[in-house]
Symmetry: C2
């Protein structure tokens, strides 16, 4: 069985032999960009519309907040005053939307290599992409590997909202790239990066953290549930030169953000760095 839609069902089966199946509806958008196949389709499920890239699940209207709240608010709440934020990848706009909830934010740069992803999401996934038209947002349709090279001491927060470490996302999983990301941080800056499934992608996750640990003096991991990713469990790297996990949280800001979220709250935040034994052993 190939990944993608066949006989009315979308399937994504990982190399480990299991994955997800969703009752598919009408295909709204399906084109090959310069980088990948971009597809948006309806589902006959509670999940609403789905975005896939190269037949791999990126996000759904019904569960996108599981991913976007976690990649944004965990690092953002560790910073005393995040003003300048860079989002790498994340063309669907969900991460930008969450970042914009923070009142301190003055500027968000979205650096996405594939303009077709942005355009398709603006048209077909408006509840996810809605933040992209905010005046604080600057969109750069560029390769982040090049973009980041000359950015020094510019961002309070960098969020690496990438695809998997194959295809156009591959170069975002290298020591050179992470070193440049570190240089782009202001003092007290924090990086969060999607870091694959602890259960399904044990080899990939080990490789990625081995590189991150070479670059960042503080490199930790937090996890949460994502219903539509195989295994339902996802990890993000939390990296910094000076900020330790759970070293800072402003209760008032936390309450404000919680009111706007379907998942995020203070208890949930505090619980995210507690990892299962098998994941601790890998890292």
């Amino acid at each position: 069985m190939k990944n993608g839609i066949e006989n009315g069902y979308y399937h994504e089966i990982t190399p480990s032999g299991f994955g997800i199946a969703i009752k598919a509806g009408k295909v709204l958008f399906s084109k090959q960009s310069d980088f990948q196949k971009v597809e948006v389709f309806e589902t006959e499920s509670d999940l609403g519309r789905v975005l896939t890239l190269d037949d791999l699940m990126m996000t759904t209207e019904g569960d996108e907040y599981h991913y976007h709240e976690m990649i944004a608010h965990i690092p953002m709440m560790h910073h005393k005053k995040p003003e300048s934020v860079l989002v790498i990848g994340g063309g669907d706009g969900g991460t930008v939307r969450e970042v914009l909830k923070h009142k301190t934010v003055k500027k968000v740069v979205l650096c996405e290599i594939d303009g077709m992803v942005i355009d398709a999401c603006k048209e077909f996934l408006p509840t996810i992409s809605c933040g992209l038209t905010d005046p604080r947002v600057e969109i750069k349709v560029e390769d982040a590997i090049e973009f980041i090279k000359d950015k020094k001491n510019k961002y309070d927060i960098v969020l690496i909202d990438s695809t998997d470490p194959m295809g156009p996302g591959e170069g975002l999983f290298t020591e050179e790239f992470y070193t440049n990301v570190k240089s782009s941080l202001k003092e007290g800056g924090i990086v969060a990066a999607q870091s694959e499934s602890p259960f399904v992608n044990k080899t990939e996750i080990k490789k990625m953290y081995d590189l991150l640990k070479k670059v960042f003096p503080i490199c930790s991991t937090y996890t949460s549930n994502i219903p539509t990713y195989p295994g339902g469990y996802w990890a993000w790297a939390f990296c910094s030169e000076s900020v330790k996990p759970l070293s800072y949280l402003d209760d008032e800001r936390c309450e404000e953000i919680t009111k706007t979220c379907k998942i995020y709250n203070k208890d949930y935040h505090m619980a995210r760095f507690a990892l299962p034994n098998y994941l601790k052993e890998i890292l």
Copy 2:
């Protein structure tokens, strides 16, 4: 698409329109018992062998510890000296195996309605069922609804390791049953019950907790990841007359249990009662 194996893949699609798919191998056991269809099959995946009942996923060799460590150790570690334990359902033996890791335990009663489940798991899932031959274990192939009626003040811990609230498990989700379970507890006793998926089964979970709250003065919820259940996220009820969540933990016992586990550790334990906003709203 029907649940079960077809064209080389096992599918389980929930009424909400999405679910899991696993590359299936040889069917090792498939029979209709007096209660349900019992099936064990090989998979061509990291998950090893799988047990299904009425074509619904119960457990796999590859991820069973996600469920069994959580249903057992969270309540067990809240009790100062758990000696007498009742497991309701749980014919695969995984919950009993975890309970037996606690040195204080003198007696475990397994009350499973379907002897065929026990027999199939003893033959085909030995790494899961291995605890069932321990001399401390007494197996009762009986309907727990009847079994529990005359048990008063007998158990330190009752674990309701049931199927979903349809079919043979249905009567295990009623106020009358929960009332009898409460009566079966000794002073300081704790009940943990599998309570469906917070993401997929919002209606069922609300109904169940409404009943539990009528019966138990303390009724809380803890959650964890289960890769092979649709949505990958699962909840258990934690109920007691006197024991509050996170009110007790013996560090030394916790360390001992942690050494034997793939997931469970103190940090993970402490993090389990932190719930996402959407689940708090349901409960």
